[in-house]
Each structure stands twice: as C-alpha cells, then as structure tokens.
C-alpha cells in the first residue's frame, strides 16, 4: 500500500463476498472485501484450504459467489458480457490439461478469441499478437510443438503466452510456478515483474512460496480461515507472530540483503 506504483484506482474488487462450495457444509468466505488497484503486483498467500484458488476464480468471474459482489472497474462483473470481461482479465490456471493436439501457436491464438467476432477467424493482427506473446515467453522456436512435447516450464510459459495474447489489463495466476525448478520460477516471476513495471499490467498471483511472493509482490494478501488476516507490503505481512498464527509454524524472518525483501526461514511446525 505504501508502494507508489499502487496508487491507481481500484480495478478489481470484492465486496462482502461469501462463497460456499456446492454441497460443502461450511462457507469458505464470509463477508470478504478486497480491492486490487491498477498496476499492483499482488501476491495472495495462505495455508492449504484458505481459499486462494477460489478467490482467484471469483475475481476472474469464472465462479459465482454465494453472496456479495465482484466489481471490475466499478461495474458488477456479472453484468459484463463474458468476451468483454475476457479482454480485460486473463487467467492462468493450475490445471493445464489440454485435450487433443493443439500446437503452441494455436494455444496462444486461443487468447485472441475474446477479440474476434462471434464466428470470426483470426486476422493477421491476431497472429501477430499471439507470436509477440510467444516471443515474450521465449517460445518463438516452439510454435509448432504440441503441449505434451514441452517441458513443464515451457508448458507453463505457453499458457502464460495465451494469457498475454488476450492483451488484458489484469492477469490472475494460480500458483504460476508450482512444479517448476528454481530457474524457471525466477524466470516467470521476472517476466511478470517486467510486464508489471513496463506496461502497467496488474498481476494477482497465488503462491505457497512466501519468499518468492515477498520478493516480487509489491503487496501481499494473507488469507486465513476465510478472512484477510493481513494485507500490505511484504515486510508488514510476513511477521514471526503471523506465521505462527496462520501457518502454525515456528519461523525466523530475516531480510534478504540483495533484494531487501523479507525472507522466511521455517524452523518447525507447532
């Protein structure tokens, strides 16, 4: 919140949100409110089952809240036609299974769908946008490959390229670097940071990796038991006391000398 880049207007916000999974006995969220401002890089953290993925799906408008409202640039997201919503918000999901042998370029072109007419074919500018997104993700030589021929890192980059091809103002990512090795984690977060800085892309990413989230996010939102347990710059959110309370883990919090970000060293579960 103290970050000067986070001074934009709220672009995506939830108001009094409640949510219960179909058939679940208890609500996951009860009266949750949160606002993401234009140009922010928000890391959503929290223990398993705290609702990170569900919050992302609700923000994306792909899940319906049981109560409350999600607003995109002040408008109720339900009132926005799906293709228009898809031109503003792109989502990278955890589940990456794509049926049938679509090539990497075809997958990137899928991101152009919200920009086409109901029955339109891709135009030259759509091919250009898809290729630019693939170049951004360092996949230029991989256009004709099928998804299963790629490494996990390349596969994830192909799906991020699809999101970038949408030319959205906001990208929502669910654990974008789960299953990736050290190099590819840093690579994907560096690209996101660059897009955030250079193009003002608003990024909301969930993560289990507190240190990665702290290093790249300008703001962290800590979810716990359906509430926002803490919200603010990484060093105000990641404290020894909060980690003990929310993650039930004894930890030391130090400061990374090179990046200045807080650094969590877990010691033992409580």
């Amino acid at each position: 919140m103290s970050d000067p880049r986070a001074a934009g207007d709220p672009v995506l916000s939830v108001h009094g949100l409640s949510f219960r999974h179909h058939g679940a006995p208890a609500t996951l969220f009860d009266d949750l409110s949160l606002a993401v401002r234009s140009g922010e890089f928000v890391g959503v953290i929290g223990p398993n089952g705290s609702g990170k993925t569900t919050l992302l799906h609700l923000l994306a408008g792909v899940a319906e809240p049981s109560g409350g409202e999600v607003r995109l640039a002040g408008r109720p997201i339900r009132a926005i036609p799906p293709p228009e919503r898809a031109r503003r918000i792109a989502v990278v999901f955890q589940e990456t299974r794509i049926l049938f042998n679509f090539s990497v370029l075809e997958i990137a072109l899928m991101g152009r769908s919200p920009h086409l007419g109901r029955f339109g074919m891709e135009r030259p500018e759509d091919f250009a946008a898809a290729r630019a997104a693939l170049a951004e993700m360092d996949l230029t030589g991989r256009e004709d490959r099928h998804l299963h021929e790629l490494s996990s890192g390349e596969r994830q980059r192909a799906l991020i390229a699809r999101a970038l091809a949408q030319e959205p103002a906001i990208v929502l990512m669910d654990e974008p670097t789960a299953f990736l090795d050290l190099k590819h984690r840093l690579q994907i977060y560096s690209i996101l940071t660059r897009l955030n800085r250079d193009r003002g892309l608003t990024v909301v990413a969930t993560s289990h990796d507190l240190n990665l989230a702290a290093r790249y996010g300008s703001r962290l939102v800590l979810l716990h038991k359906g509430r926002v347990a803490a919200d603010g710059p990484p060093d105000s959110v990641l404290t020894v006391g909060r980690i003990r309370e929310v993650y039930e883990t004894e930890a030391r919090v130090e400061r990374d000398a090179s990046t200045g970000a807080p650094f969590v060293i877990p010691i033992a579960p409580l």
Partner: protein, 338 residues
C-alpha cells in the same frame, strides 16, 4: 500443422466435397447388376433399367448411408470435445440405448403390425432417444448447470439398464416377432423414399452448420472448462446447445438406420489426424469423412459377399477396432489419451 485460416478451411472442405461427390458416383456404379452412373447420361437401349437400378435402389441407400455417416461423424467429434473424453461417441449418453428400447417396446407391443402404413418403429426409436436425452439433462444438472462428468456417468448407466430391459423383452416375447428390430439393432442402411431422405438432409445440414459455428467454443473447451470461461465462453450454453444438436442428429439417423457402431468413434480421430484439432474445420470435415466412410462401408456390405448382405455395423466395427488400436499405439505417450 499450421493454425487454421479461412483459406485452409475452404480448401479442405472443397476437397472433401469433391471426394464426397466422387464417392457417390463410384458407389452408385457398383452392384450386382452391372450398371454404372455413366449410363444415365448416355442414350442406350438399356437406359431404363439402369436408371431404375441406380436412382430407385442404389442412390437412396447411398444417400441414407451418407446421412448416417455424416451425423455420426459430426456428433462424435462434438461429444469428444464437450465431454472432454477421446473415447466418447454419439451413443455414450444413451441415445442409441434409448432408441433401441423404444424400437423394441413398440415392436414387442405389436404396434408396427397395427399401423403398417406408418414408420412406427422409427418414431418409437426417436421418442426413446429423445426421452433419454431429456431425462439425462434433468438428472445431470445442478443449480442450473449441466455437469459433464455426471452426464457421462448417467449416460453409461442408462445404456446398461436399457440393454437389460431389451434382453428381458427378448426373453419373454415371441422370437419371430422381433426379427426385424433385431436386424435394425445391428445397424443396416435401409432403402428409404426421397421424401424422408430430403427431410433428414435438411435436419442434418442445419445441425452440422450449427455445430460447426460452435467450433471455436469447442476448441476453448478442449483447454478446460475454467479456461474456456476465462476466455469468454458461456460454457453452460455451449454445452446445452451442442449436446442437444448432436443428440438430435444422432437420434434421427439411429431411428432409421439403427445404432451403427464405431463410425462416431473413429471418424473424429481419423479426421483429426488429417485436418488437425480445430473444431471449426474438424466438425464439418468429420461429417464429410463420416459420410464417405459409411457410404463405402455400406457398398462393401452389399457387394463383398453378394447376394448375401453383411450388416454394415459389422464392417464398420471390423475396420474401426484395428484402426483405433493402431491409433492408440501411435499416440501412446502423447496427450491424446492421457
């Protein structure tokens, strides 16, 4: 394969249409009497018999086979995409089982003999299929949403239950009375009047065009339901419309030709190998490929062991089984059957 462009779409469909026309001409020239389609355009003494053989016997059957193949090919492609399952075929949701039960019930009750001038068995089969799809929609929706996994599960269960009821009918009803419907159940192409063929053609063309227009949504749904939603697809509406249209064209041809197996499973896979995975081309291409395949299979059915006729369902299964195994071996390790 490069991504689909308008040019590739129309070139592929043009070539397939030419292949379709050529297949009609060749199949119409093969049969136990040696008349070829060329005789229709020549002045010869034998002209009338040639015309009678080709126009009244061969051509209606060929066109009926083409219609059935087209419907099964297009519907199979759509079911595989909507249910996100490469093993899906047009019968997986119980359309064929429902049609068969309808046909057996009507026949066992002796209805076709009561009103011999009406297509009672066909009507009963269609009603059975329609009732099945209707109850499937009711049973597999929750909170106004049509769920694909329950749909698959319920469809498979309904098919099994239907089969048991049919076996029960076979046990208790006089054997000779069921002979016709039993033949229908194996799947064979009847010679129908041009009125019925025309009506089915209109239904089928509208159905395939409607399904092809949903092609881009089907592509996005192959990437996952949430992904499709995030890309602007109204998943529930697309699923409802496509399953309904695909079931309708399937029910229409099954009522007439019986549940011919394997066409709706292998034609989509074969077409995908040749034309790629983009459903805007794949749906109409599967329709044309299915039409050509079933036309050729049916011509083989009536000529290979002439004068004995092999049920066309036997031929499609004999071609389809090995092809599918080959495809599986070829694609092993790929994302195809993950």
């Amino acid at each position: 394969m490069p991504p689909l462009t308008s040019r590739r779409l129309w070139v592929a469909l043009g070539l397939l249409s030419a292949g379709f026309a050529a297949s009609v001409a060749v199949c119409a020239s093969i049969g136990s009497s040696h008349h070829t389609i060329l005789e229709l355009f020549r002045q010869s003494t034998d002209n009338d018999t040639a015309a009678a053989t080709i126009l009244r016997i061969r051509l209606p059957r060929i066109l009926m086979a083409a219609l059935a193949g087209a419907a099964l090919g297009a519907a199979g492609t759509v079911f595989q995409a909507v249910l996100r399952n490469p093993l899906a075929d047009p019968y997986i949701l119980g359309v064929s089982g429902g049609a068969a039960l309808g046909a057996f019930l009507a026949t066992a009750a002796g209805l076709p003999a009561l009103v011999p001038f009406l297509p009672v068995r066909e009507a009963a089969a269609f009603l059975g299929a329609a009732a099945t799809v209707g109850s499937l929609f009711l049973l597999s929706s929750a909170g106004g949403r049509l769920l694909s996994y329950p749909m698959l599960l319920i469809g498979v269960i309904m098919n099994t239950v239907y089969l048991s009821v049919i076996l029960l009918i076979e046990t208790v009803v006089d054997f000779t009375r069921l002979h016709g419907v039993r033949l229908w159940m194996i799947g064979s192409i009847p010679i129908e009047g041009y009125g019925l063929i025309g009506g089915l053609s209109v239904l089928l063309v509208l159905g395939v065009v409607g399904l092809s227009l949903s092609g881009r949504d089907l592509n996005l749904m192959s990437a996952g339901e949430d992904a499709a939603r995030s890309l602007g697809v109204t998943v529930e509406r697309t699923r409802l419309v496509t399953v309904l249209l695909a079931s309708l064209v399937t029910a229409a041809v099954v009522s007439v030709a019986g549940p011919i197996g394997f066409v709706g499973l292998i034609v989509p896979h074969a077409a995908r190998l040749v034309f790629g995975p983009d459903h805007r081309l794949l749906v109409p291409a599967s329709a044309l490929t299915g039409a050509i395949f079933l036309m050729v299979a049916d011509t083989a059915a009536r000529t290979v062991m002439a004068p004995t006729e092999i049920p066309v369902g036997v031929i499609t299964a004999l071609c389809g089984g090995p092809f599918f195994l080959w495809l599986y071996r070829r694609q092993r390790g790929g994302a195809y059957f993950e």
